[in-house]
């Protein structure tokens, strides 16, 4: 009997302790939620440019995927939801922060110039801008090799698992998203689309697809299934690459299967710049991190704060300094050339991160905004619409 009552007392005590733990946990979490505000998350987050792709990225994290796994899954999805913005025929740049090592790396899979290209290509610039339609402007796509390298270095889930959500999206009654329909019906874009090979994808006869029209896109679903199964090599050294090259050769492209096979994503150090209590890690040329760092480094020295913009004159002052700094930045864009193809300009972008340059620029910013273009090193600059 004594043994029985002791066991009962232990169980009761255990229950009380458990109850207390739960109460304390709930209090801590609700306090945290309260102190963080209603819109905050407490564990992880994904920000893509559509809810459906953010959700797909979040689901990958909840399946114990790594942040790189979640990013890849969200990008594959975005190539379907916003095909006007990105896809397997483009290029990608990753900046990756590893919390356990504190290390940051950049994976650059931006497209490259093919081995053979239209020798009179740059003579066509004036007429081609701003849309740049036509096969002569196609580079060697880097997207999937970028995903493969990022996954190889930082992936946790099986490669195929990152493709399943988007394959399911396409196979289970995908419909034209609103934003895509806006682009399809844009009065500037529409005639170009109609006279291009995209007509077979985005038009019903002479009418563009409307929001919520069925949009199954079977050819891409098949490609995603093949890549999920066989890896990126299906495109870069396999049958998909041959099909792609053949399809676009008929439209004037000089891309070859050798171009695809030799494409390499590169892993490089990020640019690293102190910004107050933060360290800014951004991608080096040919990406734009050096220009972003330059702009923030100059602006940092003006010590703007919430108080600064509390008064209208203060707000004008902030934006005046921003405009002046952006003018100096435009004059530096030429430093973004690909250093591996222009050895003479290795590392000239690093100058943009220097504090003495920022200081010199700040000294050239006064209360006037009507200086000559040469004041900003802008003379001779044409449109700089790099994407």
């Amino acid at each position: 009997m004594a043994w029985g009552s002791r066991a009962t007392i232990c169980l009761v005590l255990l229950g009380v302790v458990l109850g207390l733990v739960i109460i304390v946990l709930a209090a801590v979490l609700s306090h945290r939620q309260a102190s963080c505000g209603p819109s905050a998350f407490t564990r992880a987050a994904v920000a893509a440019d559509s809810e459906i792709c953010s959700d797909i990225g979040r689901a990958i994290l909840q399946q114990r995927g790594s942040p790189v796994d979640a990013t890849i899954a969200a990008l594959i999805c975005t190539g379907v939801v916003n095909p006007q913005s990105m896809g397997l025929g483009g290029g990608v740049v990753f900046t990756i922060y590893n919390a356990s090592t504190g290390k940051v790396e950049v994976i650059n899979a931006r497209e490259t110039v093919p081995a053979s290209y239209d020798q009179r290509l740059l003579d066509q610039c004036k007429n081609a801008l701003p849309l740049g339609t036509g096969a002569q402007w196609i580079g060697v796509p880097g997207e999937l090799r970028g995903y493969a390298e990022a996954h190889r270095r930082h992936g946790r889930l099986p490669w195929a698992q990152l493709f399943q959500p988007t394959i399911a999206l396409l196979r289970e009654g995908f419909r034209v998203p609103f934003i895509l329909s806006q682009f399809l019906n844009n009065s500037i874009l529409r005639p170009f689309l109609y006279s291009s090979t995209l007509r077979q994808l985005f038009f019903n006869g002479t009418e563009t697809l409307r929001a919520q029209d069925p949009f199954p896109w079977p050819a891409l679903a098949n490609t995603l299934e093949t890549v999920a199964k066989e890896g990126a090599e299906a495109l870069y050294t396999g049958m998909l690459g041959h099909m792609l090259v053949k399809d676009i050769a008929q439209q004037g492209s000089q891309l070859t299967v050798q171009d695809l096979a030799t494409f390499q994503a590169e892993v490089v150090e990020p640019l690293e710049m102190p910004l107050g209590n933060y360290t800014l890690y951004s991608p080096p040329p040919p990406a734009g991190g050096a220009i972003l760092s330059f702009i923030l480094n100059v602006l940092k020295g003006f010590n703007f704060s919430a108080e600064t913009v509390a008064r209208p004159e203060g707000k004008v002052n902030v934006y005046h300094h921003l405009v002046e700094t952006l003018k100096f930045a435009v004059g530096q864009r030429w430093r973004l050339w690909d250093p591996s193809s222009h050895p003479g300009i290795q590392n000239i972008s690093l100058d943009l991160l220097r504090e003495d340059l920022a200081q010199r620029i700040r000294q050239q910013i006064d209360s006037r905004g009507d200086h000559q273009l040469s004041h900003y090193n802008l003379s001779g600059i044409r449109g700089n619409g790099m994407g």
Binding site: A44, G90, T112, P130, T223, P283, H320, G380, G385, M386
Partner: protein, 185 residues
Amino acid sequence: TAHVSVLGEDGSAVAATSTINTPFGAMVYSPRTGILLNNELLDLCRRHKPTSTLTPPPVPGERPPSSMVPSILVNKGRGSKLVIGGAGGELIISAVAQTIMNKLWLGFDLTEAIAAPILHVNGKGHVEYEPKFNQEVQKGLQDRGQSQSRSQRPIFLNAVQAVFQDGPCIYAASDLRKAGKASGY
């Protein structure tokens, strides 16, 4: 162009920007693979030194210059970080810089920092204002001699996505300009 920002449970983070340059890129479609091809080489048209208008010929294997800036800002002392990037061609850097300024210096919360209308300076040093940009500030800038671009950009395609971690609190925001929405848990 499209950008994705991700923050994992262990505090690891990824900023990734992927690009089809101009809407629908080269407008070349591969019917058998379902792939749309980008027009990346168009960016070669704009690389020349300020002192010359000569544009050097393409180099096989060259990667054209880009405005893409998938970036991560880390404040080790405070255990906070900002994972950010954007889309919109040459507007990307202006939009990301203003979002960072709004968030880290001017006291905006993340959603406001992204939503605030931006201004941009084009290659001729003229200012372009996103629709709804503060009129009072525009007037103040003109009084200081800032010249506004005569040809208004038909559409501002800038869109920024970001995740901000501040100690135990995680905030994520996608640009409503593109009907974006972030997710978390």
